[in-house]
Symmetry: D2
Subunit: 451 residues, 4 copies
Amino acid sequence: MKKVQLNPMGWMSQLSQAEVARLQDASDSELFTMFRNCSLAVLNSGVDEDNFETLFAPYESFDIRLVRRERGVKIELINPPEVAFVDDNLVRGVHEHLFAVLRDLLYMGDKYDFLHQHSPADGAQITDMVFDMLRHAKALEGNDGVNTIVCWGGHSINQVEYKYTKEVGYQLGLRDMNICTGCGPGAMKGPMKGAAIGHAKQRHKSGRYVGISEPSIIAAEPPNAIVNELIIMPDIEKRLEAFVRLAHGIVIFPGGVGTAEELLYLLGILMNERNDQQPFPVILTGPAGSEEYFEAVDTFIAETLGKEAQKKYQIIVNDPEEVARSLCKGLEKVKKYRGAMGDAFSFNWSLKIERDFQQPFIPTHESMAGLQLDHHQSRSDLASNLRRAFSGIVAGNVKAEGIKQIKENGPFEITGDRTLMKHVDVLLESFVKQHRMKLPGSAYEPCYLVK
Amino acid sequence: MKKVQLNPMGWMSQLSQAEVARLQDASDSELFTMFRNCSLAVLNSGVDEDNFETLFAPYESFDIRLVRRERGVKIELINPPEVAFVDDNLVRGVHEHLFAVLRDLLYMGDKYDFLHQHSPADGAQITDMVFDMLRHAKALEGNDGVNTIVCWGGHSINQVEYKYTKEVGYQLGLRDMNICTGCGPGAMKGPMKGAAIGHAKQRHKSGRYVGISEPSIIAAEPPNAIVNELIIMPDIEKRLEAFVRLAHGIVIFPGGVGTAEELLYLLGILMNERNDQQPFPVILTGPAGSEEYFEAVDTFIAETLGKEAQKKYQIIVNDPEEVARSLCKGLEKVKKYRGAMGDAFSFNWSLKIERDFQQPFIPTHESMAGLQLDHHQSRSDLASNLRRAFSGIVAGNVKAEGIKQIKENGPFEITGDRTLMKHVDVLLESFVKQHRMKLPGSAYEPCYLVK
Amino acid sequence: MKKVQLNPMGWMSQLSQAEVARLQDASDSELFTMFRNCSLAVLNSGVDEDNFETLFAPYESFDIRLVRRERGVKIELINPPEVAFVDDNLVRGVHEHLFAVLRDLLYMGDKYDFLHQHSPADGAQITDMVFDMLRHAKALEGNDGVNTIVCWGGHSINQVEYKYTKEVGYQLGLRDMNICTGCGPGAMKGPMKGAAIGHAKQRHKSGRYVGISEPSIIAAEPPNAIVNELIIMPDIEKRLEAFVRLAHGIVIFPGGVGTAEELLYLLGILMNERNDQQPFPVILTGPAGSEEYFEAVDTFIAETLGKEAQKKYQIIVNDPEEVARSLCKGLEKVKKYRGAMGDAFSFNWSLKIERDFQQPFIPTHESMAGLQLDHHQSRSDLASNLRRAFSGIVAGNVKAEGIKQIKENGPFEITGDRTLMKHVDVLLESFVKQHRMKLPGSAYEPCYLVK
Amino acid sequence: MKKVQLNPMGWMSQLSQAEVARLQDASDSELFTMFRNCSLAVLNSGVDEDNFETLFAPYESFDIRLVRRERGVKIELINPPEVAFVDDNLVRGVHEHLFAVLRDLLYMGDKYDFLHQHSPADGAQITDMVFDMLRHAKALEGNDGVNTIVCWGGHSINQVEYKYTKEVGYQLGLRDMNICTGCGPGAMKGPMKGAAIGHAKQRHKSGRYVGISEPSIIAAEPPNAIVNELIIMPDIEKRLEAFVRLAHGIVIFPGGVGTAEELLYLLGILMNERNDQQPFPVILTGPAGSEEYFEAVDTFIAETLGKEAQKKYQIIVNDPEEVARSLCKGLEKVKKYRGAMGDAFSFNWSLKIERDFQQPFIPTHESMAGLQLDHHQSRSDLASNLRRAFSGIVAGNVKAEGIKQIKENGPFEITGDRTLMKHVDVLLESFVKQHRMKLPGSAYEPCYLVK
């Protein structure tokens, strides 16, 4: 049995006795299982695999323990994956990530009681909590340069698309922009890799490659090798809020349902009339050959959310430099606006996010079937409900809890207005055809049924 | 009316909306008055004056406000003292200190509800709170070099003594030790000033000059010009605990009742048998000519607390180098002990402090008269009660609340075992004669009556 | 006409009037033409092209001027390549590189009179000059960690080999080693790219990617995008000396004549008995499938320089981790040896290099034909002469002066001992077959004739 | 016999073999004796003593050697003064200073052949050499903030004056200005000490306290404890040029003949019409009570150099804040002017200094007697000659060579125009009366005779 003890890092090396005690109490909890799994995912950083069972199978004997010391708490790893070590020393980046998981899941999890309610009830409180977690992770300190670009897109994209995401990242890096993504492979890795080269050429030494994940997906998307700041938010809604409040601009690459979920979340918020004045650069982009993809998405948005929604983004095909230049201009406006509003540069307080977008949606056969998917509601509400539908499909595809439900009870059923459902079906079909649902290697079996 | 707005610094520039709101709510509270006064004291940094009325008199029109911004909270100063400004710009050190006061008094004050209970009830909780405040003030991060020497001694000492404290500080600085004091003039300033020169000669760029104060005394002892880290603890008991848990060694210079209070507090703790194994270097030292002073103190300790107490300290007269060398040796032992115990280098968790020493003592005519001052108790308890007696006299001398009581009801009366009281009386008399009660310039009128 | 003025950087921003005057005097010289061409190459950093004519063709109107200012000297670019700019701003890395070229070619060129004698006459003086140039380039300051690995290998290698060089670089980077190469594409870029990822994962922020070039080859091998320190040595002999004196270990990947030249240079020196005690880790390595290549090289060495030479290196096939681990062990020995010798960590003073290896060899039809290539000399001398033969072929392949001679007078003829020449011929043939002579895309026409 | 070996620091740890060899060759030279003496002075840093014989007497057995190592050169101290050590470790600042002496005296001394010609012959070359020495000492890198104030004044001043120089330094430090002085006690120490406090209050961590000395005076004025950059120029003329080219403004405190020499040097240069456009803030200042002193100086200037000369400076009595404020305004003009001229911020290239002011003046009975001190020359020439006269008196007072001559041949005789000599006599008399010639403790015996 191999055992490795790790000294605490950063803030985790300064805990009060009460805090240490609470961490240890957590050792028996369900939260701890989550912690163990996230840790295992982090120890597999850089491995390209989105099937958590395949990922975890070789490590059944893996375990993790907290060891109390007068001066703090150590992590003890039992039979950890070899891949995380270099000549018996844990890679420093992985070491940092492990304590980030401990910090976000156990320490913050205890503070905000993740397990029982997953979040405070009130909207302002939720935002304060998101802020508190980002602050605690020191993600705000370096974020006041108005140069953080959140990049969304599929974890399973083809080589041409992947190379394109690197190209875009490179152009952003050349312009001293930092990258924030969901922290897995594909479109979450490419822009970071490209930016790293751009930063190197510009001698930009403090480049940030921020990965924001959540416990239920990190196993499917373990942090790639470039991520130098890892944050684990408790659920997808907090994670999305963290993205949009940290972001000074957003780039969306081709992707599948997850990416669609993100786009719908973003549009639902930007269409809120209280955000009308907010400059918020959003660019959809992909390589030559991706025109069809964006046409499909653009059409879907037009048909479901209307022309107003289309105005919130710009589509640029096959022009990484233009993407970067356009963002530069957008960031200038963001800077001016934040200054004028007295808002922080590091956290977009003034962006209005309705409770609907903050409240966790837990996909079950019942909740999925119950989604109101028709035009008898505001466009923003429709965006919110469509977002949930796609969120459920992501869960059914790659999240442990979702997969379990599908196994037991068959696919989720989604129903609604006929034309609307037609559009949904067309979009989903195209994702399946383009292999955007799962990493290649197996036939995709839909976890949903559009009626 | 002159108005100056100050941008938040450090952690205070990253507050959640809830935190900002709570700070503003505090604006009407009694805590805020305290904040105003501490701020005024800080704005008078470097001024040699221990009479708070004299200090505050010229600034009746001074006021301070919190201005809410989306991104945090600004401080607005109205008619602030000129002495804090250089060509209309607030001195950066003072700017930092002001936000330290805001941080410790309002932010932490709200968190721990200073006003209503002044502290948690339970001993471990009090220690955790002290830890939390020091951590929040970033006082722990630089404290793991096992080189922090706490220096105690009178704020009103003569030139020979003052020069000696500088000499000792210089020798400590030459050996890369940092200085922590009560942050006022006299023996609280000299060691810092000397150490600064020592650090300069050794090219030690990150020298720390930590000042720990409390709201009720800061006006009488405004931070001197060298202090580069300011911490305000809510009361004298927390302040003393902060001192002993931060310290790796302690030097005690000649002083008055305040210094005697500190020595008694320290001895009471070190005599706890659970601290028997703790190496804790304590050195009493002064220039040639101070032999009598130390003889008096040493005799007092012997007669009241016994020989065991005497073993806890070493007296060195007129040999700054020997003081420094002796501390060096002591620090080696401290380092070894902390390592062996698994205790933190930055905070002495393993030092046992009984509740008695943590519980705030509020000096009133009643509580002072009620102190049990005889040998029908353990030596440690006696130390604790003597500490309280001296604490009350400090209050009567320089703290606003104490002075008010004395004005209204005459001197505090202290009674007890006849021989014991004789020793107390002798010691106090010597302080009066040596002008250690107040800064020179006025005749001292005792605020106590030993019976 | 586009004009861009660049402010001086680093040391170049502090020149005396005499130094500025001398730089300007150089403006008319032949050295300046060299400077112009190197600058153009640097402005094409990252472009994959080894034909200098193709590279330079589009930039006939390019020019460069020195503009004198009281405070130093500015560079003015006229019609520079677009590729070096981001939104009209010169990439900072390229900016640095340009001033490195100015520093090494004009400033040092003037100091050591590159043009007329190319070097001092005496061996110790040559070494002092190499040292002075590296010191002036600040390449020594970061070189005392005993962790600089010089990587040699072909600029034209296949994808499998390229990926392998990245893998090796990654494993070196994970172990905090820095990379130094000849600064072009292929095996000169791969290890840097890999190491950059390794450094990122280990949070190693000050990774060094040192490129050492020379005026006659930089156009054929413009610095890749990762190089963060560029040094231009005046000729190949000084460049090789810079490599071996900076190196703490050397890795040799598959390559062509240039790589063979480097290997022969190194073996010739290590076989000097005065270097017998020097631990100097040398590893030949390539991916699976490269066995044959290394067999060929190893056989060639055995047949020409004998078994003693073979002992100086280790061959590892397809095991990047083993390469890294083996170097780690070797570096330990280097560290010990330098310590014991009182030698510098940053510059290998104690390595004995005979004059023969320092003296510039200028390949002409005459000098090439006159090389003594037989066994009637010491092994070290033979190594030196073989080195020259290969050096001449490199010149004939990619250096302007060499190409011109070949064009005018046909291929160089090399003659010598029959068996020896057989081995040479076999090796060269294999390089041609494996497309190691030039970047792919054209048929290779040999610039030599083995008789 | 106590022996201490010191590792090389900074640039001295990177020497070529040739450079090391030349340093060692110097070991037998007269230069080395100078080096030994300067080293001894530096080892006495902080000691208040201006009689070099008294200073050196206890250290007859002191010696210094250079020990050659492959990697550079070590300094070996034999029987060094205890005062430079802390618990057997050399104070780091002194360690740095020793290598500064080695750098400036031996390394640069060899480069410029100090001993035989003391300087290049040509004016531009002298300036280049001054530049080269400052650059090599890294004194230019931090000097581009247009905030370096050169402070001149007596080494022997009274307590009131000393406190005033500290006050002025404090006000300069509060405004982020750096201090450069002649590096001894008195007016050379006070401003540094004050500025250090000002810098501390403003959290200005990179405060510079530059001391510029020369071999013949360093023993009489060993660097004070605050100096963190030490530079040794070969003679008084280069030292003065270093002062005025580094300075962005100059403050002159009360002093004796040395200070008068400095003032005359400065006025002679500023009166050069080619410097008419140069903004160059010069302030003469002292505490209340120093009015008479400045009146005397001002009158002397008026009578000898005329009204034009008086316009070059401003006299401010007893107002440290006004001194600082006035400099602030002056620095703004300097900044603008340098920018407009394209001149460096770190070195005043455009200030014209005539050869007369650069050429070393070696005071002998003959050269002193031969000085042309009358009005039959330009004002600038007269300034130059008066400067030499005072320079000779400084030598006779405190420099070894000068004292020796006086001992042997009696006082220097100075003759010239009768009225002029009257003014000189009056001024010198006042210096004697005010004890400005030597540190107090002995009666001053004039080394000059005004005829």
